[in-house]
């Protein structure tokens, strides 16, 4: 018995640990969604917000479209709840969902990041 234990010690210890690691990761990220999610959110350069600025190529108008944004980071389960208020949890752009474009009072882990002009002014709208 002891010899079998010695021979297969790697199997007896590492396989349960591996299964534990996989199942606990699955439970945390897939079931409870206990993680942070970050994304580019709507930013209004006309108000006091100091927005990031970027552009993308739009095939419909064959032109570069400039847009402003800010970074929001919040708990994934909150994000999911708020997105359902906008009627979708699939591939909806967060900029089109008002509920996820700010931090609610109950969201302790939520942070909004605006463009810092002291770092790289070219990234900022103003």
């Amino acid at each position: 018995m002891l010899n079998i234990l010695k021979k297969y010690i790697l199997l007896f210890t590492l396989v349960p640990l591996l299964l534990l690691a996989v199942s606990s990761s699955y439970y945390r990220f897939m079931v409870t969604k206990d993680f942070l999610v970050s994304y580019e959110a709507f930013c209004d350069p006309i108000t006091t917000e100091n927005c990031y600025v970027s552009s993308y190529y739009d095939e419909s108008c064959d032109c570069e479209v400039i847009y402003e944004y800010k970074y929001i980071e919040k708990k994934a389960n909150h994000y999911k709840e708020q997105m359902t208020l906008c009627g979708s949890d699939t591939q909806l752009d967060p900029m089109e969902c008002e509920a996820v474009n700010f931090c609610a009072d109950y969201e302790a882990d939520c942070t909004v990041t605006y463009c810092d002009t002291t770092e790289d002014p070219s990234l900022c709208a103003r």
């Binding site: 591996l18 990761s25 945390r28 994934a76 699939t90």
Partner: protein, 375 residues
């Protein structure tokens, strides 16, 4: 929760427009053939050398490496943030297992027997932190659904630890091989160089590329981790070296049919590059590689077949000699028996004949036989 800027893939990993995106050109070519060749070699070894611990370990390495490639493909092509994040910790786990199994493989390759309990315990202790902290914030804590990755949320200490395991395995393996090389036979020295350089090259390219590229992507120096794909080719080199070792030195005692199949598999996988080649330079490069693989494969198979044919001829001659030897022994035995019988059968009458002859020659026989004269 989905990455809203990207298109959803089909069948979990198939993204039809991958060529339109920067850094994706090599995606399937670097991943799929590498995984296929790794699994082919791993399975060949497992089924042809079932009793060999080294073969089993190489099979396990191929499983973990292919697993890494599979989750890498999911991370590259899928847009489901929950799914990507739940498999994200497996990158570290699989890399850590590849490191430790590589050391274990080299140990058994050299000694042809299992490692001691002490070494096994040290393997467990080295792997335990990676497994125990995989689901915690030390491993990964969040996801960026705009960029569709979690590089910015990876724990540096955790990442450094499993990369350290890769570096540790390289040093450990180098020490083991150098020590063995000094006392090994000439034939085994060549195997050590072949297998050793293959595994070291694989570990170096895989761990260094993965760490550097993903770290730079995490701090936004690189737009994505596209360059890590080049690190995967190290495994193809290692598996090629293992195949050459199998063919040339009969490592793992794999037969000629298997060796031929391995070379054919290598050629097929090289030829698959044609499906991904986009320009003339790519086509020329693929053709040159394929020709080189075909020539090298032909020479190797030819030399192995020749050697096998010689070995078979030698075995036949040995068997014929053994048969002749047995026949000779039988004949010798029969001769001895004949001589013994003949000797016994002849000796008895000869003795009496000699006795009479002796009596006749002495004249005593005549005297006794003559009747006495009557007075």
């Amino acid at each position: 929760m989905y990455c809203y800027l990207f298109e959803a893939p089909k069948y979990l990993i198939y993204y039809s427009n991958f060529r339109e995106l920067d850094g994706y050109t090599l995606l399937y070519y670097s991943h799929i053939p590498t995984a296929v060749i790794t699994l082919i070699v791993g399975m060949f070894l497992l089924f042809n050398a079932r009793k060999s611990i080294s073969a089993k370990l190489l099979f396990l390495i191929s499983i973990f490496f292919s697993g890494w490639i599979f989750i890498s493909l999911i991370a590259w092509t899928n847009i489901n943030a929950d799914l990507i994040l739940s498999i994200w910790p497996l990158f570290g786990i699989f890399q850590a297992f590849i490191s430790i199994l590589s050391i274990y493989f080299v140990y058994t390759f050299i000694n042809k027997e299992d490692v001691s309990l002490l070494v096994k315990t040290s393997f467990i202790l080295l792997l335990a932190p990676v497994l125990l902290f995989a689901h915690t914030n030390l491993s990964v804590s969040g996801f960026n659904i705009t960029d569709c990755d979690a590089f910015g949320y990876e724990g540096l200490v955790y990442k450094l630890y499993y990369t350290f395991l890769g570096l540790l395995s390289m040093v450990w393996i180098a020490i083991l091989l150098i020590r063995e090389y000094q006392t090994a036979s000439e034939k085994f020295k060549k195997q050590i160089v072949l297998i050793g350089s293959g595994i070291e090259f694989f570990l170096l390219s895989f761990f260094i590329t993965t760490f550097v590229v993903t770290y730079l992507a995490g701090i936004k120096v690189l737009p994505d981790s596209g360059y890590e794909m080049y690190g995967l080719f190290g495994m193809t080199v290692f598996m090629t070296f293992v195949s050459i070792s199998i063919v040339k030195f009969k490592t793992f005692n794999v037969g000629v049919a298997t060796s031929t199949s391995l070379v054919i598999a290598l050629a097929l996988i090289t030829a698959s590059k044609y499906t991904f080649s986009e320009n003339r330079f790519d086509l020329i490069l693929t053709t040159v590689t394929l020709i080189l693989v075909a020539i090298a494969g032909y020479i190797l198979i030819h030399s192995v077949r020749k050697e096998i044919a010689q070995r078979v001829k030698l075995q036949t001659l040995t068997m014929e000699l053994e048969k002749a030897n047995v026949r000779l022994k039988t004949l010798d035995k029969q001769k001895s028996e004949f001589v013994s019988i003949a000797s016994h059968q002849l000796r008895s009458p000869l003795t009496s004949i000699r006795g009479y002859a002796s009596m006749l020659s002495e004249g005593s026989f005549v005297l006794f036989q003559k009747k006495p004269k009557n007075p």
